[in-house]
Symmetry: C2
Subunit: 320 residues, 2 copies
């Protein structure tokens, strides 16, 4: 295990790949790995890139990575989107540019499986971002799909959140209006040369989301881009991300944000593990008997569950 951790810290691709596979599998060794790597993360700037399928997140991300790599910086990418073109070898609209990413020694791309249908990122994603950070990358990008649920998760594990929209994504406009997306530090309307592009920019600009950004003093911008077309807007997106990075460095903002994200991450894992512990503690026979009692009218669902929970947590438990 310490050899694997050492390999990760040295930035060796095979070690990183093996480490992330452990996390992905939920292998018990992953806990030892993360213990061995503790304290090794924090140097990378972490950027979340989220938005609906087909918004061109991978294309945008590939373009950003290539520009950053050209300046000598090292880039790690986690693609959580199951439909991500990264996993299918077709990024930036053509194979030639995918090959360009592949050839670049400064760019490491890894796609990760999501488990379950429930949405949400899963704790292994945050750990994988820590692995890339510990491996010494300057930038760690996390690409994920989704509205609402996943975006709230992603905010707790990155420093800058970018939401990518496209002119046709009407659902996203609804989501913005519903206040589901008050989490972005930067909005990018990709494919903005298409019909409806400027209307989409205007819709986001006029939405309440921009007025309710959680960090006072930071005003999220709405940039148009065409990552897969003429490359319009990529430099501006990068400049704005760097501006956000610089802004976070001041007045302890980055530390405060990471602390707040870490609180959410720990609380989320604690709740998940408590639910898993409950699932493991109720065997099939107990469940079958309980179902019978409810259907026979002898008991209620809530009473049964509260009975099971009696004594959770024990007196020496978490409240200490």
């Amino acid at each position: 295990m310490s050899a694997l951790a050492a390999g990760v810290r040295a930035g060796r691709s095979e070690a990183i790949a093996r480490a992330i596979t452990l996390l992905e599998r939920g292998d018990p060794a992953a806990r030892d790995l993360m213990r061995a790597l503790r304290g090794g993360a924090g140097g990378a700037h972490r950027v979340g890139v989220t938005g609906p399928p087909g918004a061109g997140k991978s294309t945008l991300l590939g373009a950003l990575a290539l520009r950053l790599a050209a300046t000598g910086q090292r880039i790690g990418v986690l693609a959580i989107d199951p439909s991500s073109p990264f996993t299918q070898g077709a990024v930036l609209g053509d194979r030639v540019r995918m090959a360009e990413l592949d050839r670049c020694d400064n760019i490491y791309i890894r796609s990760m499986a999501t488990r379950g249908l429930r949405g949400g990122l899963g704790p292994h994603v945050a750990d994988a971002a820590d692995v890339l950070d510990a491996a010494g990358f300057d930038w760690v990008f996390v690409e994920s799909v989704g509205v609402g649920q996943v975006e709230l998760d992603i905010r707790s594990i990155v420093d800058s959140t970018t939401v990518v929209l496209v002119p046709e994504s009407g659902d996203q406009v609804q989501a913005i209006k519903a206040g589901l997306m008050e989490i972005a530090d930067l909005y990018v309307v990709n494919k903005c040369d298409r019909e409806g592009g400027s209307a989409m920019v205007a819709a986001v600009l006029s939405s309440a989301a921009l007025q309710h950004h959680p960090d006072p003093g930071w005003m999220p911008e709405v940039l148009g881009a065409s990552a897969g077309g003429n490359g319009q807007g990529i430099d501006e997106v990068l400049a704005r991300l760097q501006e956000h990075r610089a802004w976070l460095q001041l007045d302890g903002r980055l530390a405060a944000r990471r602390r707040s994200g870490m609180r959410a991450r720990i609380a989320g894992l604690a709740q998940r593990r408590a639910a898993e512990r409950m699932r493991a503690s109720v065997d099939g026979a107990a469940l079958e008997a309980a179902a019978g009692r409810v259907l026979d009218g002898a008991d209620s669902v809530e009473d049964i569950v509260q009975g099971w929970l009696a004594g959770w947590p024990p007196a020496n438990g978490a409240s200490a």
Copy 2:
């Protein structure tokens, strides 16, 4: 409380409304209510109607309810979809027919709020269906929006699951192909007179989903309908639902299905309550201290959480 339960059992609308409001609020009195109503449910046939927003679920449901009510049966409807036209007074495409539903003494419609962004139905929905069942309705319909996550939930609380699709719902075709929707007992392609209608029927018919229905011996059908147009297909949908109801009555299938659904419902609530218990047991100061330890490299997220979980469940806990 016993007065409220008695009112529900007598089928009085005000009592039903008040009971569901208690559930919706998560009022502690709801637990007493459900205890008082235990054993009172089971007579209604419960039908889940799910599908993407705009598929015309409410319109279909309204048409089914009116036909059933015309034969003297009593219909209860829970609309969980936050965008349901039921809540907005515009069902079946026009106000006249909404008024028709409203005037019908045999039809009770209630829209329910969903809590949180996480998706999933929430335990109060299953309880509300029990309330309607205890109130003596012959049919209880639960309308919900969503793909995947919500549909899996809904299957555990209804007897028949209907998935409503429309020709343009490309995401749904993807979901079917991905096996996310192996849960429907009946597929309805609504608005099937539109362009792409027969292609959609063919796509669902050819999908693997139909081959993997969880109940051996039941083959889900794919029906075209035009609930908001000429009313085409409504009679066939109703006939097929009645056929499924009759099929379930044989050979103990309904009892087996309800038992299986109840197991899932109890297990789901148990996990949710365990997570809530964990959230309540970790105070802000403990979380803040834990976040600091991780960020300082003194501890890992998993180790902290496992420490909190030590002794969960206590020896006298749920495994009994």
